[in-house]
Amino acid sequence: MNTDQIYSQLTDIFRDVFEDQTIVPAPTLSAKDVPEWDSLNHINLIVAIEARFKIKFKTAELESLRDVGQLVDVITKKLNKT
């Protein structure tokens, strides 16, 4: 899966979780930009990504995430491993 495909899948997930049909997960997007992105929805987002990509994040990986770009980097790394 290439980066564009990952972003396309993420768009679906973001729109589902935040219930906003206009949201576009750009690399610089982060929780402070999205009012709905609270701690509960953050968990929902991570769980939805794990289910969609069939991956599992490590605790440390999630601790260091700052924006969507870093999230995509982690997803890419995990998909390439399998």
Partner: protein
């Protein structure tokens, strides 16, 4: 659909779910809520459940009242870890069963303070039900934790909730999240956390029965999928969610079915198709020798195992019926002559085999058994028939049976249609009661003189105040009876106990016996003396099984007698119309009451006790219930 959606495997998948949700949101509120109800009954994952819940929460009160019968159920969540993510699943789990659930979540970890403090949000909320959801780490995770202490905490919560809230208590069992220290013989290490959880769960179950607390068996149902599916230690460290969000909708469905059972909304009757459901093959084509049924053939054994499950359900009170597209003689032949058949004709309360469409036949079955369509569950291997029923009769439960008959029983068990809080003696005898009813029908047909028929029944009506032993059945009847029910007021067990403790209340349970057997508790009365010394009849309900047998008049005789003993000068009755109780609209005038007033189709009636004479009835009235 994501993988976790396999959890609601008895619900049919819906391919265009998101589009359907969008469509529903755009329609008028009532229509939208009906559509949401349909969408709740599709196979959802946790994310879809959350989305559906958000949409449903926009429903205005007026539309909600129009579409969903019964008052909303107020549920308070009391816990020791994060529970917020469970709320959408619980609300959708209730909606799936036509129940509107309003939820109060106590502040994080504050369950004891909220219970103790009369000025807390919990007390202001006035819950119908509290769910105590305490996590394993909190209860027995600490190095020096003791089971006794944890159990003491739980029991304190029960008595606080009972005393100060008077509501129904749901206690979640503890999730076995701890790793073994010994292994297979872990039980020998009494201080291991894993052993503590096991012992604590045993104690909770034992005490719950005596305390009238209902159990949410998290330990049992989480084990069906595996603890790893339900609990993720990484997530626990991150967000203190003991129950994983990916199964929050499954958890919510379990809570939803318990809440429905508390409100008496569980299904009552399993309607079975025959060909390829109870046996393999088509009896009309393959004949007795050709169908697959019984030992020596894996498919035959699978169908037999399903019959065994159905039979066991019937022995604990679920009514069985048959609905088959067949010539009746062909359909009956295996029941009468096949040596491997477990189900016999006498196990089936209503047997319908013809060539009419199945929606018509299900209506027929509901009518003959005198139960609502929403009490039926329809098990059929044929996707066409299942779709037809979902379209035509959305209130009927239609499990999405797997293609392999080996999975039929698991599918129906997982769906929890017949969730039940207690098993009563009446439950165990229900099949014979329905059979006896059929025999009475036969006698009625052979006797034209009604008085001779009733006299020939040798009826005995036994009456007594409510008692502890009868309480489960009394609560069940109050919540289940729809048709012969003057006011359709629903009460929980604590509320009925409060009536029993009220010295100005009259409460009566009536049991009817006749030459064919014991009909069990068939009628209930709750009344209260007002300040003018008039007895207001709050609840008068009766099982439709005993219609047309003068039980109404005999019951009035008993009420009159008791009311006079309490010093009452008159009886007051009222009729509150519902979707289902039109049959009792003329109940009070038929018994000689006079109309006091009519308000919004609701009528009030009065019968002075001065000069009241008991009507002659063809049965003996006996004091004492057993």
């Amino acid at each position: 659909l994501s993988e976790s959606s396999i959890h609601l495997a008895w619900l049919p998948p819906k391919a265009d779910w998101a589009a359907a949700l969008e469509g529903a949101r755009k329609s008028a509120p009532e229509e939208a809520l009906r559509a949401f109800l349909g969408l709740a009954n599709c196979r959802l994952d946790f994310a879809q459940t959350t989305r559906l819940d958000r949409a449903v929460q926009q429903t205005p009160d007026a539309a909600r009242k129009k579409v969903l019968s019964g008052r909303p159920l107020r549920l308070a969540l009391l816990g020791s870890c994060t529970l917020t993510h469970l709320i959408p699943g619980i609300r959708v789990g209730g909606l799936r069963r036509g129940l509107w659930v309003e939820i109060y979540e106590a502040p994080y970890g504050m369950y004891r303070q909220e219970l103790q403090d009369p000025s807390s949000g919990l007390h202001a909320f006035k819950p119908d039900v509290v769910l105590l959801s305490l996590d394993a780490q909190h209860l027995v995770g600490a190095a020096d934790a003791s089971v006794d202490e944890a159990f003491g905490t739980i029991k304190d919560c029960w008595s606080l909730a009972k005393q100060s809230l008077g509501c129904t208590i749901l206690q979640q069992t503890v999730l076995p999240v701890f790793h073994p220290l010994l292994g297979n013989n872990e039980h020998r290490h009494i201080h291991s956390p894993a052993t503590r959880v096991r012992v604590l769960n045993e104690q909770i179950r034992q005490a719950a029965d005596a305390q009238g607390v209902e159990i949410l068996a998290l330990d049992a149902f989480a084990c069906v999928d595996g603890i790893a599916e339900w609990h993720d230690e990484a997530l626990w460290h991150r967000s203190k969610q003991e129950i994983h969000p990916r199964v929050s909708h499954v958890f919510g469905d379990q809570v939803g079915r318990l809440l429905a059972a508390i409100r008496g909304r569980s299904s009552k009757c399993l309607v079975l198709d025959l060909d390829n459901t109870l046996w393999g093959g088509v009896i009309g084509d393959d004949g007795m020798a050709g169908i697959a049924l019984g030992q020596g053939n894996a498919v035959g054994e699978a169908h037999l195992a399903f019959q065994r499950y159905a039979l066991e359900l019937s022995r604990r009170g679920v009514i069985l019926a048959v609905c088959s597209k067949n010539d009746e003689a062909n359909a009956l032949e295996p029941f009468e002559r096949h040596p491997e058949m477990l189900l016999r004709k006498q196990d089936i309360a209503c047997f319908v085999a013809n060539w009419d469409d199945k929606a018509t036949n299900l209506r027929r079955i509901a009518q003959r058994l005198n139960i609502g369509l929403d009490s039926l569950v329809f098990a059929d291997d044929n996707p066409f028939e299942r779709d037809l029923i979902r379209q035509e009769l959305p209130e009927v439960g239609v499990p999405e049976l797997p293609e392999d008959p080996a999975g039929y029983a698991a599918c129906i068990a997982a769906a929890g249609y017949f969730e039940s809080l207690a098993i009563t003696t009446e439950d165990q005898e229900r099949t014979s009661q329905y059979r006896a009813n059929a025999e009475r029908e036969q006698l009625r047909e052979s006797v034209t003189d009604m008085a001779a028929y009733l006299g020939g029944l040798r009826m005995e009506l036994r009456c007594a105040p409510f008692d502890e032993i009868g309480l489960p059945r009394i609560v069940q009847l109050i919540n289940k009876t729809n048709q012969f029910n003057l006011t359709t007021r629903r009460y929980t067990q604590p509320e009925v106990s409060a009536v029993m403790a009220d010295s100005r209340a009259l409460h009566l349970q009536l049991r009817l016996l006749d030459r064919f057997g014991d009909n069990g508790i068939i009628a209930l009365i709750i009344g209260r003396l007002n300040t003018q010394q008039e007895l207001e009849i709050d609840t008068w309900l009766m099982s439709c099984r005993v219609l047309g047998r003068q039980v109404e008049a005999a019951t009035l005789n008993v009420i009159g007698r008791r009311a006079r003993q309490m010093g009452a000068k008159a009886l007051l009755g009222s009729y509150i119309p519902s979707a289902k109780n039109a049959m009792v609209k003329e109940h009070y005038p038929k018994l000689g009451f006079t109309l006091l007033r009519t308000e919004n189709e609701q009528t009030s009636w009065r019968l002075p006790l001065e000069g009241f004479e008991e009507a002659p009835v063809l049965m003996n009235i006996v004091e004492g219930i057993s």
